[in-house]
Point group: D2
Chain length 106, copies 4
Amino acid sequence: MTLDDLTQRLRDFAAARDWEPFHTPKNLTMALSGEVGELIALFQWLTPEESAAWRTDPAREFNVEDEIADVTLYLLRLADVLGIDLIAAANAKVDRNEKRFPPLPR
Amino acid sequence: MTLDDLTQRLRDFAAARDWEPFHTPKNLTMALSGEVGELIALFQWLTPEESAAWRTDPAREFNVEDEIADVTLYLLRLADVLGIDLIAAANAKVDRNEKRFPPLPR
Amino acid sequence: MTLDDLTQRLRDFAAARDWEPFHTPKNLTMALSGEVGELIALFQWLTPEESAAWRTDPAREFNVEDEIADVTLYLLRLADVLGIDLIAAANAKVDRNEKRFPPLPR
Amino acid sequence: MTLDDLTQRLRDFAAARDWEPFHTPKNLTMALSGEVGELIALFQWLTPEESAAWRTDPAREFNVEDEIADVTLYLLRLADVLGIDLIAAANAKVDRNEKRFPPLPR
């Protein structure tokens, strides 16, 4: 399954439920924000070190995978509705970041 | 460029700047949240209809692509640090959603 | 009950549960962000017009009041931990906004 | 200046700029979320300990006060538009939390 396959699956999913009218860019940024809020809540009381050991708690493990999945789904759906190629846009941004933040001399 | 290539590029980018110690799951969820905040701000005063016509303003067009790229970069970096396969996790979530939200009868 | 009374109540609440070590500015901004995510989720699929008629659904009515309360509690707790007088800071910001956004001529 | 005075000031501010039509609950939750995103970004790379020492950097000090002010302003404006008494709602929530999280025995 590629990113494009998953995007198509989400498009079909929305169509089969008549959800397309709800999936405006405005609404989808809100949905994305809500899911990121659920993800951040899973780490809020952990120290940075504890957050790196997140797999030690099985319930947390499921929840983190579940919430990061939701974030991914809304991000893909938003990009599809916006007509943006996420990989190309992200790659172009790394190009700009390379110039903005030069690597350390070695 | 695939998702895996981009993930590797971000890994190299962080290593070349000694940023890895900052890239804990906790910190990266915060960075993700901050970027989603910048994205949502671009749509906050638009009607849903105006949000769908976002490409009519060239400055907004650049900013939306720039911010959604930042969201993507932090999401990929977070998934890499967590050791989560985003496509697999997202696909498994759609499987669960198929059961939770049955399609409309046609 | 004033804002200061409520702030004191939250201070006592945290102390009675030994939660103070968790209430760093970093953690509290995450908690605030998580609660705002829950609040935004209540409005994500509504049109702006429907969002203005939010009291027509009793379940939503309770949820909106509950979530905005959570946002308020974490904001007050964060301000207390930071040692910031919220009213003074907000008022100073409106002063700056008055200069940045002149009123319309009437 | 009380919370009610500040709320009234924001009401007048919006009216003097014809911003009221933009200030729907939906839009204001987005604006609130965007400002929380800017606040969280100020703490994302800090350790919890560094976040507690946030006043050691004068630029950060100004930015934190500025962003928490923005969060406060949008929260007050949202509560006003929703017709919610923030102090009463927050206080009622602490009542519920008292039952949900009993204090430690001493």
